[in-house]
Symmetry: C2
Subunit: 238 residues, 2 copies
């Protein structure tokens, strides 16, 4: 039998090379950053001629898009897995686990981090296809928040948003977009705090990875741990 699972040798070879090209590209990204990444260098490493890559990726930007999607998905899975591994009833622990998992991945793959959370790659415009994977990370946090809420939970008045403000409207719209049948809605005020926490988390990672802490809070483990705990309080998990 020369075919397994209905795939011809050609199809298998194509799938494998498509993957290998991406993996070699990822390797070069890790070493040289997004703009040290060149199709020619990838082809060279694979023992191919540069024009051959065009059978697999129509352009450099498409290869970059594939890497970006993978990078988001890797961060997303890291967060999701960490949440799943934490005690189901312990929302602050789940929150913290996600934060630490994201940091671990960022530190281990700084160029991938920079690719998705750093300055935009010049001349590259992210296509729609990156939006879904990018959203996995905030969604993971949203799920932690939702699971921690009882349907009727009251909100302290101090946490209310200024009524009628554009912020309240944006948050309400987002809350509606995130609504799932059977699950409690997330109050806009909580959502806003979640977004702030989300920016806080990545702000800290960016400063750590991009060198703003040099000479003060480096290594940043302790600061990070403290901030994550504060954030859990801020979003109302504690």
């Amino acid at each position: 039998m020369s075919r397994s699972a209905g795939r011809t040798a050609r199809e298998r070879a194509r799938a494998e090379l498509t993957r290998e090209i991406k993996e070699e590209a990822r390797r070069q990204l890790a070493e040289a950053g997004a703009d040290g990444l060149s199709l020619r260098a990838v082809a060279r490493s694979l023992g191919m001629v540069s024009s051959a890559l065009y059978r697999y990726y129509p352009s450099r930007d498409d290869l970059l898009t594939a890497l970006i999607i993978d990078a988001y998905n890797a961060v997303g899975s890291a967060a999701e897995d960490a949440i799943a591994a934490a005690p189901a009833g312990d929302a602050p622990a789940r929150w913290a686990a996600a934060c630490h998992a994201i940091r671990a991945r960022a530190v281990a793959h700084p160029h991938e981090y920079a690719l998705i959370y750093g300055s935009p790659v010049p001349g590259y415009r992210a296509p729609q296809a990156t939006i879904g994977p990018a959203a996995r990370i905030p969604l993971a946090f949203v799920r932690v928040l939702r699971d921690a809420r009882e349907p009727g939970d009251p909100l302290p008045a101090s946490r209310a948003l200024p009524p009628g403000s554009p912020l309240a409207a944006q948050a309400a719209a987002l809350s509606a977009a995130l609504a799932e049948p059977g699950a409690p809605d997330i109050p806009p005020a909580v959502l806003v705090r979640a977004v702030i926490a989300w920016t806080q988390l990545f702000g800290m990672l960016s400063f750590e990875l991009f060198g703003q802490f040099v000479g003060s809070f480096e290594p940043a483990d302790a600061l990070f741990g403290y901030a994550v705990a504060q954030l859990a309080t801020f979003v109302g998990l504690r």
Copy 2:
């Protein structure tokens, strides 16, 4: 009299061209980003030959360094000026003014922002000379905090750092480094919160400028305003 203030025509011309080169570079940075910036293009715009630039900047990296220093200084002055313009006794207002001024500059000059707070420019290592200007921004916030404190102000116990932790040690060291004769020390716990607020601020700006808010909290004015107010509370100004 052919010389004024002891400068020869040559010296004046040199100073002027040095400035003009930097300004043209800044213009190109604003349009094309840090790696759309090329010595040759700058020279072309100035009607010079590319090799002539080497009389003014010994290499591309030196020109980049000059731009980085200017960018930090511009953000620093914006913050300092905004603080000075706010009511002297109103610490939360001073805090908010600095945050909004920084954001305004970042939004107006996104590529300069990316240059200093985005992913590091590949192949470029920031020299010591950038550290001072970079520090102006956090220092401006520190001054707001310091001015708001009375020498013996007690700290709520809930804000204490875990004693003996690496974080407490780092913060104490920083507090000591920031000490000024005649001014009250900033308690380490406050300093840690200030650092967290600092990362929060720039995390939010990075997300706004680098496109993570697209489709949710964009425009981010309302979110930003709300977050800044929360931060003032977080660092104990309210």
